[in-house]
Symmetry: C2
Subunit: 385 residues, 2 copies
């Protein structure tokens, strides 16, 4: 095999974007093997746009057609795990759209099954992991450039969505259709990045606002407090009603601090010696005088790194990395089994708000699912939209 024939399950906004990149030859070693969608209008559209690509309205048929080596699951979140399992069962490689699923129990089933098929490639579409800024950030944290983490803080409210967005389809922003709001649809990227770079917290407490500024059943604002179990803490804030959104990540460690602004600029403040040592050897007036005198070089040095972002480049990188793993074993940037962490964290944030108390990770999966099902039942009785 020298190129991967990708089957696209679901040719909506996201699937359509990927089809565009691939058909325009932008994705190295990848071609469209087939497209699947249950919507007859999509069939017509594809017949015109991709006349040479086989089209299916049943994804199992596509998996068994011999036309695809791999699939990407650009379908509603609930369906990702079962489609992943069905593909792997048929020895078809899987690139799971994010989030890996709505609740960890279903994602675990997929992960367990995937573990029995180690020869197959199983990736998850965390395109932000290919962002050079976050790769650099992870490298710095992993290398201990700011030492042991004491505090993380991410305000990521650049996910503005007007009511019209939610009203596009009946399933959007419903418990039954999506299983959540900003935590499940928009913020999974940052939830993954936070845990990828800074690790998983041990405890979560949240204040989640459901339908705060939008007429929806699910959440449009989240404040979550994280406890890493070793003294370190964190705060994660996201929302879909901030039209001039904030994107500011601050990570403080024993040896300094990193601030990421707008996912474009990293500011690294490296202490000249670890803070625990300064604590022992310096007095408050020394430090105040240094700050007031304007010469802080005896305390820390500052480096600023700016990044250019190219729209679409990240998605193409994920597709190419996925193909490369299939073709020559290049390591995956986002192995499929990693997808469960973000789902676990999002589930913990939801569960804490439902129970009104701090929850420990891993959370009780059965309890989460029971509570989620209650929301779905309530919604059926009293639909919001």
């Amino acid at each position: 095999m020298n190129q991967v024939r990708l089957g696209i399950i679901g040719i909506g906004a996201q699937g359509g974007t990927y089809a565009g990149f691939i058909s325009e030859g932008k994705v190295k070693n990848m071609v469209i093997g087939a497209i699947c969608d249950i919507d007859p209008a999509k069939k017509e559209m594809c017949a015109e746009k991709y006349p040479d690509v086989p089209f299916y309205d049943n994804y199992i048929e596509m998996l068994e057609s011999g036309n695809v080596d791999a699939v990407v699951t650009t379908v509603p979140h609930y369906l990702h795990p079962e489609m992943g399992i069905e593909a792997l069962k048929r020895d078809v490689h899987v690139l799971l759209e994010k989030p890996a699923g709505v609740y960890t129990k279903q994602v675990k089933e997929l992960n367990d099954f995937a573990a029995t098929k180690p020869e197959l490639t199983y990736g998850v579409f965390f395109n932000q992991r290919t962002n050079p800024l976050y790769q650099k950030l992870k490298e710095m944290i992993d290398n201990g450039e700011i030492g042991k983490i004491r505090r993380t803080n991410w305000i990521i409210t650049t996910w503005w969505r007007p009511q019209g967005y939610y009203d596009q389809s009946a399933w959007r922003a419903t418990w039954e259709g999506e299983g959540g709001g900003v935590l499940v649809n928009q913020a999974p990227h940052q939830i993954d990045l936070l845990q990828w770079i800074c690790g998983m917290p041990k405890k979560v407490y949240s204040n989640v606002k459901y339908g705060f500024q939008r007429n929806i059943a699910v959440e449009d604002e989240v404040t979550a407090m994280l406890d890493y179990g070793n003294g370190a803490t964190g705060v994660f804030i996201t929302a879909t009603h901030d039209v001039v959104g904030t994107d500011r990540l601050e990570i403080m460690g024993d040896n300094g601090k990193i601030i990421v602004d707008d996912s474009k600029k990293i500011t690294i403040k490296r202490l000249v010696k670890p803070e625990p040592e300064m604590n022992k050897t310096m007095n408050m007036m020394d430090i105040m005088n240094l700050f007031m005198g304007g010469d802080t070089s005896d305390i820390y040095t500052e480096e600023v790194i700016e990044f250019e972002s190219v729209w679409g480049a990240q998605h193409i990188s994920v597709l190419e990395n996925f193909a490369a793993n299939i073709l020559d074993g290049t390591p995956l940037i986002a192995p499929g089994s990693d997808g469960i962490h973000g789902v676990a964290l999002a589930n913990a944030i939801h569960l804490s708000s439902w129970l009104g108390k701090e929850v420990e990770l891993p959370i009780d999966e059965e309890l989460f699912l029971a509570e989620l099902n209650k929301k779905i039942e309530e919604e059926k009785k009293n639909p919001i939209k």
Copy 2:
């Protein structure tokens, strides 16, 4: 009366600073009437430095001497309320050092007593309220420039204190001596500003770290989640172990956002129309295109205001405003009765962490005091420092 003779109770670091300002003639219409301290070494120091100023080692004697029209209470926090009451009883005006007290029950007693003496001036030393930046900020919020508040977020960790600071005196950073750490000693300014500008929350949940990076019994790091009861939320973070501290306040409202950096710069992003209206009339692509095209003037306008800070100016302003209120009725910038709000908020943050759950305001004062007394008893058995 054309000038106020101030009695300084406690001539330590803070009292000494005020004495310096007044004796140098920097405080309009105020002179030092007398000084009181229980430390004999201070008596010697004052005899040399302020030979013409009467010195007392008993503050009641000073209050009754006829040498003072007013007092400032630069003594350990626990003592502020009782000294305030004793002064007012003797018709002496009171400028209470911050915080107004350690627990609301004691502050309430003072407030209740002060209410029976409306002819006397009763102020609290919130010098940050005289900072032109925060006055401007309050004015903008009060004028509704960014509409109804949706979210507040203050990271204020510029309070670095090394172990040597805590080890200076036995009473520092103990439950018995101070009744808390950063919440009681360093952060009361910001806690007051936050409630002064954005109002009091209705509920608080906190994660407070006691002796996290310092060898102390009390807290050196605080993360508090605020709920204003009307959908609006907030986060307040403070710490004493961040040598390159952050000071960033963000307030988001229906009509825009204000970001205050380093207590020096205000950035105001005013939406061209209220967000609820944009929500109804604009679609996501409109907004994305405006942002990607770089011309965001159809969404918001931005104004940046920079402020110069002059060390000491704020303290002088408070003293002058206090004197002016006594002499001609100029309104107080920080009326004494306002001091209880910050104490109530700090108490709620402590109590939430002690109980491990969200607490409602006003909190149960008796419960708080019982829990505080438990900490004091534990500390006596197992002193940390």
